[in-house]
């Protein structure tokens, strides 16, 4: 594709650079219509409508909102987003630690989405406004290179699910400079799916599992979830057709009462996952209990650096003391935030009285409005579920 070609051909879903016959349209409107028709048809046969289908990935929500996919679903299908935004579930005390480090003169590098996430008293963006050195990086490798270039301590505030933790692990294992360390707020998603599936108010009929996470861990990992909760799980990709196809499969299983795992993203996901990535992930991190913001205390769902990497663990290298930051009490508005319910699938952003009023991406109240993977932000940016 030439750089000056003023068309949207590339980005509408073809794999780039290939010759004609492998340029596949995963955004093709007519196929989408056909899949939507299929969904409508299955929707008529569902045993206990509406069926609630939960996906657990911000990229899923992005695609759903960006392409207006909910407008294609029948009333008998309810598609909700669970705790799929790693930014949103980052706990305030974790942000406080990053802020405290930044205020102590350490260079804190992190993903752009993390800047506006509020800690107890302030966000990293606030700290930066007040003169702290906070940098946005594209990923762990860029943070390592920053540490190589700078003559001072660089802490990478590492957030994200297992897909993102694997690159962090790789960066740690690739012998980064001494002045580089990690403040891990990485999370592991399967235990959260367990917890949400068991929440009393949450009535999930099936999971559309996140393809990216499954790339690393393999879809075999969802067998336990199927067993424990009696739900079908379908692994789906992120293009509109991937999602619609995943929904077709998932709704078929719901209609047919099949408690099974199915891979609707075979071009990327296998049963065993990416062995190398998985190895590095678990070599560097171990799963420990921890609080997910707005959701719950979840066993084995936080990823902590193992002791042998203490030299690159910011919590070991520094005496982090965010206590001064904790004195401020949560604002009135924050107490009204229903992010937790939204992530548990029991509420939509439009159910929140602050949505689009007091709470906007420019002045977010809850974490769901901060990240481009947060449900509230996505609904706000793409206009939510419009009556069109």
């Amino acid at each position: 594709m030439s750089e000056g070609d003023p068309t949207r051909a590339g980005p509408t879903g073809s794999i780039p650079g290939g010759d004609g016959d492998d340029e596949l349209q995963f955004r093709d409107p007519e196929k989408a219509e056909a899949l939507a028709d299929k969904i409508a048809e299955i929707g008529d046969d569902l045993p206990d409508p509406p069926a609630t289908v939960m996906h657990v990935c911000g990229s899923h929500e992005q695609s759903i909102a960006k392409f207006g996919l909910r407008s294609l679903l029948p009333d008998s299908v309810r598609l909700v987003m669970g705790p799929g935004c790693p930014v949103c579930v980052t706990n305030m005390p974790e942000v406080d630690e990053a802020v405290a480090l930044a205020e102590d003169g350490v260079t804190v590098a992190t993903y752009g989405d993390m800047l506006k996430v509020s800690g107890t008293a302030k966000s990293l963006d606030d700290a930066r406004s007040e003169g702290a050195d906070v940098r946005v990086v594209y990923g762990a490798q860029d943070a390592v290179e920053l540490a190589e270039d700078l003559d001072r301590e660089v802490v990478f505030f590492a957030t994200g699910f297992e897909t993102t933790a694997a690159p962090t692990a790789a960066a740690i294992k690739a012998d980064p400079p001494e002045n580089f360390s990690i403040l891990s707020a990485h999370k592991y998603i399967p235990p959260a799916m367990d917890i949400v599936a068991e929440m009393p108010d949450t009535e999930i009929d099936g999971y559309l599992a996140a393809g990216n996470a499954a790339i690393i861990t393999g879809h075999g990992i969802f067998d336990d979830i199927v067993d424990r909760h009696g739900l079908p799980v379908v692994v789906g990709g992120f293009e509109p057709l991937d999602i619609l196809a995943g929904l077709v499969k998932l709704l078929e299983h719901i209609r047919d009462g099949e408690e099974t795992v199915e891979n609707a993203y075979p071009r990327c996901v296998t049963e065993a996952g990416n062995r190398v990535a998985k190895e590095q992930l678990w070599d560097v991190f171990e799963a420990v209990d921890g609080e997910w913001r707005g959701i719950a205390h979840i066993p084995d769902a936080n990823l902590e650096l193992r002791e042998e990497y203490a030299a690159h663990d910011a919590r070991e290298r520094f005496d982090i003391d965010p206590s001064a930051l904790r004195e401020a009490s949560a604002s009135q508005h924050l107490q009204e935030c229903i992010c937790g319910d939204i992530m548990a699938g029991t509420a939509d952003p439009t159910d929140c009285p602050l949505f689009g009023e007091e709470c906007t991406p420019a002045e977010p109240v809850g974490a769901c409005m901060v990240s481009s993977e947060g449900t509230c932000k996505i609904w706000q940016e793409y206009g939510g579920r419009p009556e069109l």
Partner: protein
Amino acid sequence: MCLGVPGEIQEIDGHEAVADFWGVERRVRLDIVGDAVEEGDYILNHVGYAIRKIPESEVEQTMELFETMLDADPEDMLTDDVMEELEANSGAPAAGAQEEGDDDDLLEELGIDV
């Protein structure tokens, strides 16, 4: 930040490669891609790391999956003819905006009655 973006490997240098993402090039690390990767291979990039090689065969498998899903239902409007038509279209993607004919065509396309 959760984004996975497919790209084509252009050049490999140890653990690092340059990949083309719809015409835009960027470095990606190969530390955890898990498969042998060569120039010309497609990978899925996540935060600057290739997390998966995407074999062409599996791309076709996806396509087949969609077809299976639709074929499975004989009542479905999607016939082989339609499939063929779709595939034919995919060669000249979305260039419509550049190719309008005369005034009436444009207004018609936009649904404007004059």
